[in-house]
Amino acid sequence: MFLKILKLSLRDSLKHPLFTILMMIGVVVSIFSMTTIVAIGDGTKMEIVKVLQGFGFGGDVMMVAAGGGRLFRHRPSNVKTLTLADAEALRQFPFVVDVAPRQGIRRYPIHYMGRSFKTRILGVTPSYLKVGKYAIDMGQALNQRDLRDHLKVCLLGKTVAKELFPKDMAAALGQFIQIGKFFFRVKGILAEKGQLGRFDMDDRILIPLTTCSTLFIRDTYIHAISVKLTDAKNIATYQKLVKAFLRKRHHLLPTQPDDFRVVTSLDVVRIVNQSSRELTRLLVRIMIISLLVSGIIITNVMLAAISERRVEIGIKRALGASRRAILIQFLFEAIWLSLLGSLIGVGAGVLVAYFLRNMIPVSLSLHPLYLAVGFGFLVGTVSGAFPAYRAGQVDPIRAILGGRR
């Protein structure tokens, strides 16, 4: 009999399509938005990890950046705290294999034969190529002579090379391109590092650090130092040592904050985890709200449906339905509609995430499905319970005699 009632409830809800749709709407929207948020959130997290690794943030690299404060905040590039001497001094640590100081300018205009482009200019030393794992595809790398003589030579990232020399990249070698007002000889072309989400590792030009200092930054203060370490294991200790060392070199009093940041892969992992925790918290909040909203929708639509279907309930009671049978039918109706709504929501969310996958990072997994099934069941049960109880309590005689009572 139980099965027959379940079947009847399926059939009956199909015969009241308007109520059915109204009941499902809240759940569909909730689950849909949740699915897309999860997909985009997970995708972004994966992307962040990928991008940071792409920076050369292996476990055995740490970065010292100019200026204090929060780790990953953009700040003006005119912070004057870090020097080339700081970088060289770090070499005295036995765990430091190499140091790569740099200066950088974001989106600087470059020109060649009427073509213009904006790219990132990095003033670097030969060490930078090693520490950052850059390979030379064509031509030559920077060397100490370029640095010593402040030569106007440059290495082009693949994106820049393609932009300025669309027909034949190899033709770039030996040509003079204009960076701002100055002409630079193209000394080499970097091997492709690849696209990391929206961050293009090949959209850059490397020039000697000294040249960058005199022509563009007009100062010798550097922006960051990548430090290659002997091992990744003791990185936390190394970080402490480097911090203490730099504070001493910068003559900071104990009350003064750091005027530099030491970032390690551990910090990266921590930040990513923290942001994903924040996302989870947001998600939980959204879930609770949508749980409430869709629950309230279901309860109200169901109450309306039940008062609309009072006569039907009365008839069924007369034909042998117990209060319990009526209750079960309506409760089951709420549960299965809410489940169906959840599944539709997941489907739509996954579909949207799928179509967005080329525009923004998304991650498609089965998690939203489990979430949706649980959510659908919970919302259906909780919000259907009261209306179902009310349906069971409908007085069959009043319902049957209708307007006459």
């Binding site: 009999m1 027959k4 069924k316 007369a318 034909l319 042998g320 117990s322 209060r323 005689i397 209708g402």
Partner: protein, 231 residues
């Protein structure tokens, strides 16, 4: 022969706040299997109230009601519902078919609440079709109630009442919403069912209809005024 229905000093009152409405004030009678009884009386006399107590949709406030030997007043809702499902068939004034169901689906509805699995579905469908044939609707299995005339709808309702092969059919003004020609047909159908042995109790306002029964109970102000065989 044991009566299928027996009432002993049945009372029914409705209490709403401080207002107490005494509807039935001690009704005693019994009905033997195979009888065709009509209940008549002025509006508000308590006819419907009596019928729905007979139909196990309401408990008597006092007195005893035995259906097929079982004292109904002491049964819980589930058991009472089973009695309705197995022993009783209802026919209403306004037909009360479920408008979204076809004629066949309406006739099959009582089986949802019966014991037994869906395995006999084919058998049940065959029986429902036979009943529709019996009430003269062999061409209308898949019509919705909205596509049927009043008389046809009441035929579907009668087929539905017969579906679980009940002991008693209870009809509350079954001809109340029908024109005279359709009324005659419905009453003829009920008489025919009675001739085949079905116990029928019908409430009516229409003396023409009332006179078709073999026994006429008149109630007034909640008490039986007369209970006599019809000519």
């Amino acid at each position: 022969m044991m009566p299928v229905i027996s009432l002993n000093q049945v009372e029914k009152r409705y209490v709403s706040g401080s207002v107490i409405t005494e509807v039935l004030k001690g009704v005693t009678f019994s009905v033997l299997p195979g009888e065709l009884v009509s209940i008549m009386g002025p509006s508000g006399a308590g006819k419907s109230t009596l019928l729905y107590i007979l139909g196990c949709l309401a408990y008597p406030s006092a007195g005893q009601y035995k259906l097929d030997g079982v004292d109904v007043g002491t049964l819980p809702d589930v058991a009472l519902s089973r009695l309705r499902n197995e022993k009783l068939g209802f026919v209403f004034q306004s037909f009360h078919l479920i408008p979204q169901y076809t004629a066949l689906e309406n006739v099959l509805l009582p089986t949802v609440y019966s014991k037994g699995s869906r395995k006999e579905k084919k058998q049940l469908t065959d029986r429902a079709k036979e009943l529709l044939d019996l009430v003269g609707l062999s061409e209308r299995y898949h019509y919705l109630p909205g596509e049927l005339s009043g008389g046809q709808r009441q035929r579907v309702a009668i087929a539905r009442a017969l579906m679980n092969n009940p002991e008693v059919i209870l009809a509350d003004e079954p001809t109340g919403n029908l024109d005279s020609r359709q009324s005659v047909e419905i009453v003829a159908l009920l008489r025919e069912l009675n001739e085949r042995g079905r116990t029928i109790i019908l409430v009516t306002h229409d003396p023409e209809v009332g006179r078709q029964a073999r026994r006429l109970i008149t109630i007034r102000d909640g008490v039986i005024q007369s209970d006599e065989p019809c000519s």
